[in-house]
């Protein structure tokens, strides 16, 4: 019997017995729907929730600690937590990249939020630093999801005409006189922070590794051409000869430093840098010096208190020092950061880009907001671009540092990450390195707290964990929790998949029964076919093809039911779950292989269910049937 003829006959048989087939496929539909629903949910939670905390190919390790008299002590010496350990981890089998993490070793306070809450909230600030390259994919994904959510909520968007960023709503910037969404995730990078130093007193001991104290700030030292990075020039520090005398003579010790090259016509790409000519005739980007009217008002929320005046440049073109000089403020997007909260002089700096943990937002919404009578926060777009102030060296819990060294910085929220500090903020690692060096010395900037190891695939992770344990490290809490959660999720998914297979197996019994019934009804038809030349194999093939059709139909309908249910769950989650940045737009991942596998299993169970009836049909004795 040809394939076409078989399909034609099967189609006719299914049409004739459609009610029986529909009833027989109910169990199959339920089984496939259950299975695909939970497997897709498991895959979705793994991919969109757990993998955001730690992808399966990443682990975070920290030095092992032991309990001693009620206090946990680190086993490893801090000396072993530097770049050498990064190199050692990089050499482990399967490791493709190592991202060190650096916690701050300095007390700090944070305040801000007047525009959100009506008054400035104040709290102790904890912070750590991470490599921007590690977080960029996650930040971009979260921002896209939130943007989609916001657009859905707004239904349609109005085009806002603007001249400056300030004319645009929060989360948007002005480009070509139109407000456009700002891609905040791109801002999570080192955007310049000047670390003050005093070469005459401490030398380079309080500068970050690889920098030297020159003209009162830590800069990358160089010895000549070719010793700086691409696009940089090795020049006598232009700050030494800048028109504004910003520090004591001892701070004006000059060194040759690396500065980005520029042309006077094009200027510098970074807003906080100014293109200046050096004594050697080269043009380089140097930090823009500025002056504050009252350095103690740096923490004010009024822009006039922190925009400052640029030193050395008159807005009306007259020479610096001329009484007619009209001062200009720090460029758009920057503020004047004094060397300390008692120094009038400093540099124009861009706000420190920081990330918050979604967990922090959830805690705020569920506990803090109500207690303090504050509004709950609704998603990323409320906070992206939001600025607050950080005061380094000040604390609610520890002794304050002298005010002469306390520094105020503005910070800007540019994203959310599960890798961010749960209670605090996370910034690019170079900031933390600079702050630790400034306040605790160069050694504090060298010793990393934890390391995130990235492997090519999940299969390398088990061996890697053993290797790092041999070196005195253990999985960090979040990484360990993520792995446990992944294991639990796998077990739950496996249980539900097993239940769905049991349902499908029970359905197979029902299918067998249905086929037996159908075959009993069609025994004359089978007898006729045998009488006119059908082989046993032809009859068997007909029944098996019907079973395959039933399996494909039941599997496809089951998958449609599952997909429909998943949309309902997503909809309910959108409406009823607490706002959480870690909440994905879609909790489900339907992979083609999974869908094909589900239909394959459905077909398999139908074939298994139809085997006995097919055999019975094939062995129908036409002589008995046709003459009875």
């Amino acid at each position: 019997m040809s394939l076409w003829r078989t399909i034609w006959a099967v189609w006719g048989n299914i049409r004739r017995n459609r009610r029986s087939f529909v009833m027989a496929s109910v169990g199959l539909v339920v089984g496939v729907a259950t299975g695909t629903f939970f497997v897709a949910l498991g895959a979705g939670v793994q991919t969109k929730v757990l993998n955001r905390i730690y992808p399966v190919n990443q682990i975070e390790v920290e030095p092992k600690t032991v309990g001693l008299m009620g206090i946990r002590e680190q086993v490893l010496s801090n000396d072993r937590l530097g770049k050498e350990m990064v190199r050692e981890f990089s050499a482990l089998p399967g490791v493709t990249r190592v991202y060190p993490k650096l916690r701050s070793k300095l007390q700090a306070r944070l305040w801000g939020g007047k525009s959100l809450f009506g008054y400035d909230a104040r709290t102790e600030a904890f912070f750590d630093g991470l490599d921007a390259a590690l977080l960029a994919p996650e930040l971009r994904q979260v921002e896209r999801v939130e943007e989609k959510r916001r657009r859905r909520a707004l239904k349609r968007r109005r085009t806002v005409v603007c001249k400056r960023d300030e004319d645009c709503p929060l989360g948007q910037g002005c480009e070509a006189e139109t407000c456009v969404d700002t891609e905040y995730w791109k801002r999570f990078e080192h955007r310049g922070i000047q670390v003050p130093c005093d070469a005459g007193k401490t030398g380079d001991a309080f500068c970050p590794p690889g920098t030297t104290c020159s003209a009162g700030v830590c800069s990358t030292a160089c010895s000549g051409a070719g010793t700086c990075g691409a696009g940089e020039a090795c020049v006598v520090d232009p700050l030494c000869t800048s028109p504004g005398a910003t520090g004591a003579d001892s701070e004006r010790t000059c060194a040759k430093v690396c500065r980005p090259s520029c042309t006077p016509a094009e200027g510098c790409a970074d807003a906080h840098l100014t293109c200046v000519a050096t004594s050697g005739g080269e043009s380089v980007c140097a930090p823009t010096e500025c002056r504050l009217a009252d350095p103690r008002r740096q923490l004010s929320d009024r822009p006039s208190d922190w925009r400052g005046e640029v030193v050395g440049v008159c807005g009306n073109g007259v020479p610096w020092g001329d009484p007619a000089c009209e001062f200009t403020t720090c460029p758009r997007g920057t503020y004047c950061a004094g060397r300390s909260i008692t120094h009038k002089v400093g540099f124009c700096e861009q706000p420190v880009p920081v990330l918050l943990s979604p967990f922090l937002i959830e805690i705020f919404n569920s506990s803090v907001a109500e207690s303090l009578g504050l509004q709950r926060l609704d998603g990323v777009d409320t906070l992206l671009g939001f600025q607050f102030r950080l005061l380094f060296g000040d604390s609610y819990f520890a002794d304050d540092l002298p005010t002469e060294v306390q520094a105020a910085k503005r910070a800007e929220i540019v994203g959310f990450s599960n890798k961010a500090l749960d209670f605090g903020v996370t910034m690019p690692i170079d900031y933390v390195r600079a702050i630790n060096a400034r306040y605790k010395g160069r050694e504090a900037a060298k010793q990393f707290s934890t390391f995130i190891l990235e492997t090519e695939g999940n299969e390398d992770v088990a061996g890697l964990i053993a290797a790092v344990e041999e070196r005195g490290f253990q999985l960090a809490r979040k990484s360990s929790d993520a792995r446990k959660a992944a294991d639990l999720l796998f077990i739950l998914t496996a249980i539900f998949a097993f239940i769905s297979i049991v349902i499908a197996a029970v359905a197979a019994v029902n299918i067998a029964n249905t086929f037996l019934m159908i075959i009993a009804e069609r025994r004359y038809e089978i007898g006729i076919m045998r009488a006119v030349g059908a082989t046993r194999a032809d009859i068997r093939r007909l029944i098996i093809f019907e079973a395959v059709s039933l399996g494909v139909f039941g599997g496809a309908v089951g998958e449609l039911v599952s997909f429909g249910l998943s949309r309902v769950v997503n909809h309910l989650a959108t409406d009823h779950l607490e706002v959480a940045i870690s909440k994905p737009d879609d909790f489900f991942v339907y992979e083609p292989a999974m869908l094909a596998g589900a239909i394959g299993i459905a077909v398999l169970f139908c074939i298994v269910g139809a085997l006995v009836p097919a055999q019975r049909a094939a062995t129908t004795d036409p002589a008995v049937v046709l003459t009875s």
């Binding site: 019997m1 040809s2 003829r5 006959a9 006719g12 004739r16 004359y524 038809e525 007898g527 006729i528 076919m529 045998r530 009488a531 006119v532 030349g533 059908a534 082989t535 046993r536 194999a537 032809d538 004795d621 036409p622 002589a623 046709l626 003459t627």
Partner: protein
Amino acid sequence: MTIRLTDVHKTYRVGEVANHVLQGVSCTIEAGDYVALMGASGSGKSTLLNIIGGLDTDFDGEVTVCGQVLKRMGDRELSRFRNRTVSFVFQQFHLLPHLPVVDNVMMPSWFDPDRSQLDLHDRARQVLAQVGLAHKAGSTANHLSGGEKQRVAIARAIFNAPQVLLCDEPTGALDSKTGDMVMQVFEELHAKTRDMTLIMVTHAESIAQRCRRIIRISDGAILSGDA
């Protein structure tokens, strides 16, 4: 020589009870013969027909049809034998009621992998014309009268131009007028295709008398007519 039966025995067993339906039947039927197998109910005539047609292979003795020894054939060969060499017309027609007449007629071609698919419809209409039902080709089988159904069953049986046509009481479910019409069809067929052997099981003397030769069976043995 078309059909040779040698010492054919057939026994049905129901539990411990054995019913010897055929007891040493031997006979020969020549090619192109038109034979009536006659006997009372339970005499074994239908069983003998099923054995000749390869529907029943559980027997003792030897049956050779058109040179093919049925006992030695496997399922595939027997199916091909039923498809190409012999054909059946049953008392209860056994059409597929949900299918159009033309599809019922073409049914043997479903199981004939060598058959060209191009001329199937033409052949079906040709054999329907032979039985006088060309105009009913598009009707579904369950909308036909009894006589029409049996003529469709005959058309299906001759579709593959068999060498042996086996008819099991083809007029048994029809009134005498319709039965007579069906018998006329058989006679015309036999007249036109003289090589085709026609064996008809009947217990009606009037039907048997219209055949060229009568083999009478009683209690599983041939009483007369053996050649």
